[in-house]
């Protein structure tokens, strides 16, 4: 069986891309990667290490438009005889995968967190992370979008050929005027460790202690809803029901009470550490490790302890 993996190219090797290539290799014999936009052929060849047999690279179609991409991916899937398509569950897939599901008559499982089980059912989070559902796809064609951090990338093979392709996938009806994107940060949904601050930080000028801890851990920073709403932090850092849902290996919450809406965005995290002055904060009920104390004292101490640990383990 041939499985097609799609991701938008970026210049470096993308961790979430290595995850979906690994995932595809575990469910199919042959894995073909399709990507588009600006990339580096040597980097693309490295996806062979994770199981891709070839990479098709359409450099000229440099867009994330869902109508154009669904034409591109649909035509390559047909051409390569791929009946299963795998995406990472990001904002591109959320727009493109549903279109392809209709176009190819392919049942769509969005937000998978595991490989299909022995009965072929795919596990997904439902009820905002409060339960799991097991989904059967009734159609021959299938599309799965995989939540980041659901599978460990595995190197099983060596570099693979990269074929530059030219396609005509038509024009976009949507005109992009500007893009506002901070450079050089770890994208929140892909981060393995996240340090998050809430109202307990008392003001945007105090974020240095959150950032220092994040730096010591190689983590991304995040925040609670009230903090984004009052403008202390940018909206793309807001995790929770209405913001971004994340599932890092480690989530450290400082000065966040842990309202149900916040938990909905982080309860997929493998380990939760909660630091709060209030012993009654509901977040402690969901936490693995808790520290009752003043974030202004605890965070610098934790940063120091992490630095000491990193220095001794090197």
């Amino acid at each position: 069986m041939t499985v097609l993996v799609y991701f938008k190219a970026n210049l470096g090797l993308s961790k979430v891309a290595t995850e979906i290539v690994t995932y595809a290799k575990k469910i199919g014999e042959q894995v073909i990667v399709l990507t588009n936009g600006e990339a580096d052929a040597n980097t693309l060849a490295q996806y062979g290490n994770y199981g891709a047999s070839k990479v098709l690279w359409d450099a000229d179609t440099n867009t994330t438009d869902n109508q154009v991409l669904s034409r591109l991916i649909g035509s390559i899937a047909e051409q390569e005889g791929a009946k299963t398509i795998i995406f990472t569950h990001d904002n591109i897939a959320k727009a493109v995968a549903p279109r392809l599901s209709v176009k190819l008559r392919a049942g769509l499982v969005s937000g998978a967190v595991d490989l299909p089980n022995s009965e072929g059912l795919v596990k997904v989070n439902v009820f905002s992370g409060k339960a799991n559902g097991f989904v059967k796809v009734s159609t021959e064609n299938k599309i799965i979008t995989l939540l980041p951090n659901s599978i460990q990338p595995e190197v099983t093979s060596t570099n693979c050929p990269v074929e530059a392709i030219k396609t005509d996938s038509g024009e976009s009806a949507i005109k992009v005027l500007t893009t506002k994107k901070p450079e050089g940060e770890i994208p929140l949904p892909e981060a393995e460790i996240v340090v998050s601050g809430g109202r307990g930080l008392k003001g945007p000028e105090n974020w240095g202690i959150v950032e220092n801890l994040a730096k010591a851990l190689g983590a991304a920073t995040a925040c609670s809803r009230p903090v984004a709403d009052i403008g202390w932090r940018p909206h793309h850092e807001h995790v929770g029901q209405t913001g971004v849902a994340i599932r890092p290996n480690l989530y450290i919450a400082a000065g966040i009470s842990g309202a149900i809406q916040h938990l909905a965005g982080v309860n997929g995290s493998k380990v939760l550490v909660v630091i709060n002055t209030d012993p009654e904060a509901p977040f402690f009920k969901a936490a693995d490790y808790g520290v009752i104390g003043d974030v202004f004292e605890v965070l610098p101490r934790l940063t120091e302890a992490i630095e000491k640990f990193k220095a001794s383990s090197n």
């Binding site: 727009a95 209709v102 097991f134 005027l177 969901a286 693995d288 101490r301 000491k308």
Partner: protein, 246 residues
């Protein structure tokens, strides 16, 4: 401007999540249903704001049984002009989207809005599927939506940032936080909702593409291990040796 807003019911955020029939069905006993918050707060309220400045009408549509009429009346009380209920049990997102697309084909909408996802299935599927079935452009996860001149101006969430786009209608848009503020229906709205037109349509004969076979609940968290604020070395040790995350 004629706007179609797709709404879904979802259990109130504080509902107890449990399953029956050998874990194959959501246990509805004691569950209070609400209009899915993304559909209500963002899609419906923004549609009403656009109608208030540009004129036109706002129609809400849902796929569901007669028990869904309470949430339909709620959306009408907030200010929608009329409602359509496609009389069927929504089998999956594909089934729902195709039913709505079939209805939209026969009408003349400039704009079709949905919430970014439901809070029960979190699939984020229906809007893109409607767009494909109608061959329309689709702006996903929009946080801002305006209309001027002859086209829509939108902001949408992209990975790690925001994109500002422009598109001519008709277009399908899924709405995220930032679009509008919640509106509480007033008594006049609630009274008026009782007599607003509700059209009930027979469903088109199509099959779903996916099926939720079983559910389970994540294992209960073991008690939180408390660490003294004076002993961060202990926390680092636990994160390394016990949790194995650093």
């Amino acid at each position: 401007m004629n706007i179609l807003v797709c709404i879904s019911k979802s259990p109130d955020t504080t509902s107890k999540i449990a399953f029956t029939d050998g874990n194959s069905k959501f246990d509805e006993s004691g569950v209070q249903y609400i209009v899915n918050p993304y559909d209500e707060w963002y899609a419906l309220v923004r549609a009403l704001e656009l109608k208030e400045t540009l004129g036109g009408s706002v129609t809400i549509i849902t796929v569901g049984g007669s028990s869904d009429e309470a949430v339909i009346r709620k959306a009408l009380a907030i200010g929608a002009d009329e409602a359509v209920r496609i009389d069927a049990d929504p089998k999956d997102a594909y089934y729902t989207a195709i039913q709505i697309a079939e209805y939209a084909k026969s009408a003349n909408f400039d704009l079709i809005l949905t919430g970014k996802e439901t809070i029960n299935y979190n699939g984020s599927q229906v809007a893109g599927m409607i767009a494909e079935a109608l061959s329309l452009p689709f702006v996903s996860l929009a946080t801002k939506l305006d209309f001027s001149g002859s086209c829509f101006q939108l902001e949408r969430e992209i990975v790690g940032g925001i994109e500002v786009v422009e598109v001519s209608g008709p277009v399908v848009v899924s709405c995220a936080k930032g679009m509008a503020e919640q509106r509480i229906p007033n008594m006049r709205g609630i009274m008026a909702a009782r007599t607003k037109p509700l059209q009930i349509i027979t469903a088109a004969g199509i099959e779903g593409q996916t099926l939720f076979v079983t559910y389970d609940l994540p294992p209960a968290k073991s008690a939180c291990k408390m660490i003294s604020p004076d002993n961060m070395d202990e926390l680092v040790g636990l994160l390394h040796n016990e949790a194995k995350v650093i």
